[in-house]
């Protein structure tokens, strides 16, 4: 069966890389983005960067959102960027959130992460950001 997917809806893949089980935030965001009219694919916890990138390409998403509260962001996020590049899929925007110190945030942004959201970010800010980012890309 072929499912026709309208590209008019923004497609977002959300995932928790590594072993971190703190999934409260990402689930709230999944629901908020869905309620805002986006197509959300939530992969759940315990994903390797390879699994995330593969799913993102397969699902043809516009944005990947990664949530990490375990401190492993400096391994997992760059690895996702690297794999996207290898697969020629750098056009997929990567955003991340969780507990990420300012110093690391700067580093991640330089590496190519589009946006790092810290604790306490209003949901509306994230929704608007994703909409704006995708629109910008056309």
């Amino acid at each position: 069966m072929v499912i026709y997917v309208s590209k008019e809806r923004i497609r977002v893949l959300l995932a928790k890389p590594g072993l971190d089980g703190h999934d409260r935030g990402i689930k709230v965001i999944a629901r908020a983005l869905r309620d805002a009219g986006m197509e959300v694919i939530y992969l759940g916890i315990r994903n390797t960067p390879e699994q995330i990138v593969e799913a993102a390409i397969q699902e043809d998403v516009d944005v990947i959102g990664l949530s990490i509260l375990s401190g492993s962001h400096m391994y997992h996020v760059p690895r996702v960027l690297e794999l996207l590049k290898q697969k020629g899929a750098e056009d997929i925007a990567v955003i991340s959130g969780g507990i990420i110190p300012d110093e690391d945030k700067e580093k991640l942004l330089k590496m190519g992460v589009k946006k790092v959201f810290g604790p306490g970010t209003p949901l509306s800010e994230i929704i608007n950001y994703v909409k704006g980012e995708v629109k910008k890309r056309g």
């Binding site: 590594g18 072993l19 971190d20 089980g21 999934d23 409260r24 689930k27 709230v28 999944a30 629901r31 908020a32 939530y42 992969l43 759940g44 916890i45 315990r46 390797t48 375990s70 401190g71 492993s72 400096m74 391994y75 997992h76 690895r79 507990i99 110190p101 300012d102 110093e103 810290g118 604790p119 306490g120 209003p122 949901l123 509306s124």
Partner: protein
């Protein structure tokens, strides 16, 4: 408690007050909102009177401290005799780093140890597994083999301290490592005191460090309960935890109801195994969160004690008083801490810690002010510990037992918590019990719903979070950030390689084979895990052996 005539008089006086004094005030100065609610959504009245607790019976509902139904406290003297245990959760990096942090905490007056493990350990992976990459030693200490445990407790006599270990999926193996470390120090099993969290049911609802499916996991928990009741009389083989359920988004009533339902499930499983309830129930312990809604939290603790006592006495027919005790540890709430203006978190922690003490906790962890930003720094940990010490020694709240007992509001709220808790029990029973509820995603959905509601309320400013949606300042955060030494990964991998080289391979294989056979036949596997640990089998090897028999759990995606 109150004579019918008196209640009638109060009702009349209240109506009179509403028509006169109150009306005048409302006309000139209306209230801030139409409905006031607790965090669980209970409507809070303007003022409480004896009318709201007119069916209250002091002896039946409260009694005296140390007496059934233990609403006022499980001990007759409470903090007048002994302050709660100040137990700060700690652990990071390698075993050496954690050993150093423990010695620091002990030298600053801490009275119990609490070990945090890193994610690979929590999920049963060795540090050299692919899934462990980027996570080693970050959220806690990495433990691969007995060797690591020996180093963590080097120079800390295990008969002199009690140790709590936050470990669930692989709890039996980590516990076995602690037991063998004790034996190697010359401390026999019966002298070891402490707790393993070992509450697997809540892992499927929150925290998510599950390994095996619910049914075999529950069997494994009963193995540890049975082993403790026979060999380690001072050990709490389980800490039935609401903390993670709450932190994942549940409100106070969901935390209370789901935790006690989990507790009843373990008791039921152990009784089914043929254990006598009074042989193991005294060693069951609990672990709750404490959030900001002050009176609701206190009511939650008081209700928890009463509900558990009734459950144990009436449903499980426990005879010993200790079997009916709900002994609990409390941790202040991590998710209420803000990354914005982090020093304010000291105040949040103080309010929460005070509620835990007024609720009669047996031990307490106070969070550090920097936890929304990173792992806590040494200074932040010290302030958190000092917060407890100031409450204990300077505030005077410990001088009398359950000082809020008899407050019309607190008693009404305690009754309300109990009532709503039974409503959830009925719902869980209808679904077919806790395991069925997990399999159907009932708890996961309930928690996700509350988490989303909370976030929306913060977004819409229906709920004020100081520094986040009100009273904002635009200034950089200037507090020292604690960082784990990046060398940790390399050091841990080197040690694991060395242990693997030095151990007797044949003995490891033989002990793992025996373990699998026993697991397959359904016998108690604790003695076999201990045997494998003694031979320096790794955590990953033991876990994998059990996965072959029990299978692996794949979670339902619910949001």
């Amino acid at each position: 408690m109150f004579k019918e005539g008196k209640i009638k008089e109060i009702r009349e006086k209240k109506a009179e007050w509403e028509g006169t004094t109150l009306k005048k005030y409302l006309d000139t100065c209306p209230e801030k909102k139409d409905v006031f609610e607790t965090s669980s959504g209970f409507k809070v009245e303007r003022v409480y009177t004896p009318e709201d607790v007119s069916t209250f019976d002091y002896i039946r509902d409260l009694g005296f401290p140390g007496n059934y139904p233990f609403t006022r406290g499980i001990h007759a003297t409470m903090y007048r005799a002994r302050t709660w245990t100040m137990r700060q959760f700690a652990g990071y990096g390698t075993a050496e780093d954690t050993n150093k942090r423990f010695k620091y905490l002990l030298s600053h007056g801490e009275t119990g140890l609490s070990v945090a493990f890193d994610f690979p350990t929590l999920c049963g992976y060795d540090s050299d597994h692919q899934m462990a990459r980027g996570e080693i030693g970050l959220c806690g200490v990495a433990v691969d083999t007995l060797k690591d445990m020996e180093i963590i407790f080097n120079g800390i006599p295990l008969d002199k301290v009690t140790t709590s270990m936050t470990i669930n999926g692989p709890a039996a193996t980590i516990w076995a490592m602690y037991i063998v470390t004790g034996l190697k120090q010359g401390v026999p099993m019966e002298k070891l005191g402490g707790t393993i969290q070992n509450d697997i049911l809540k892992e499927y609802m929150a925290q998510k460090s599950f390994i095996f499916p619910p049914e075999p996991s529950l069997k494994l928990v009963v193995d540890t309960i049975e082993f403790a009741s026979e060999n380690l009389p001072r050990w709490n083989p389980i800490s039935i935890s609401g903390y993670h359920i709450r932190e994942a988004g549940a409100n106070a009533i969901q935390e209370l109801a789901f935790t006690l339902a989990d507790g009843a499930t373990y008791v039921e499983a152990a009784v089914e195994r043929g254990l006598n309830v009074d042989d193991f129930a005294p060693r069951l312990s609990f672990f709750f969160a404490c959030h900001n809604n002050f009176f609701e939290e206190i009511a939650k603790f008081r209700a928890a004690r009463r509900i558990w006592a009734k459950l144990m006495k009436e449903r499980f027919e426990a005879k010993k008083k200790r079997s009916m005790w709900l002994r609990f540890h409390t941790q202040t709430s991590g998710c209420t801490l803000t990354a914005q203006q982090p020093i304010n978190n000291v105040v949040r922690v103080t309010i929460q810690a005070l509620a835990a003490v007024l609720g009669g906790t047996q031990s307490l962890h106070t969070n550090s002010l920097d936890e929304a930003l990173s792992l806590p720094s040494e200074l932040a940990v010290r302030i958190a510990l000092r917060t407890q010490q100031i409450i204990a020694h300077e505030s005077g709240v410990t001088d009398t037992i359950d000082p809020l007992g008899g407050s019309y509001y607190v008693e009404w709220l305690t009754d309300k918590m109990e009532e709503e808790c039974y409503r959830y029990f009925d719902q869980i029973e209808e679904i077919g019990g806790v395991v069925k509820g997990i399999e159907k995603g009932f708890f996961q959905r309930e928690i996700a719903r509350s988490a989303y509601k909370y976030e929306r309320e913060v977004g819409e400013k229906k709920r004020v979070v100081v520094g986040v949606n009100k009273y904002l300042v635009d200034e950089p955060v200037e507090i020292p950030i604690f960082r784990v030494n990046p060398e940790v990964e390399r050091r841990q991998l080197r040690r694991l390689r060395k242990v693997k080289q030095e151990r007797e391979k044949g003995k490891v294989e033989e002990s793992l084979e025996k373990l699998k056979n026993t697991a397959d036949k359904g016998g108690n596997i604790m003695p076999y895990i201990i045997e494998a640990v003694k031979n320096y089998a790794t955590l990953g090897e033991i876990t994998n052996s059990l996965k072959e028999i029990y299978g692996e759990y794949k979670e339902l995606i619910i949001y």
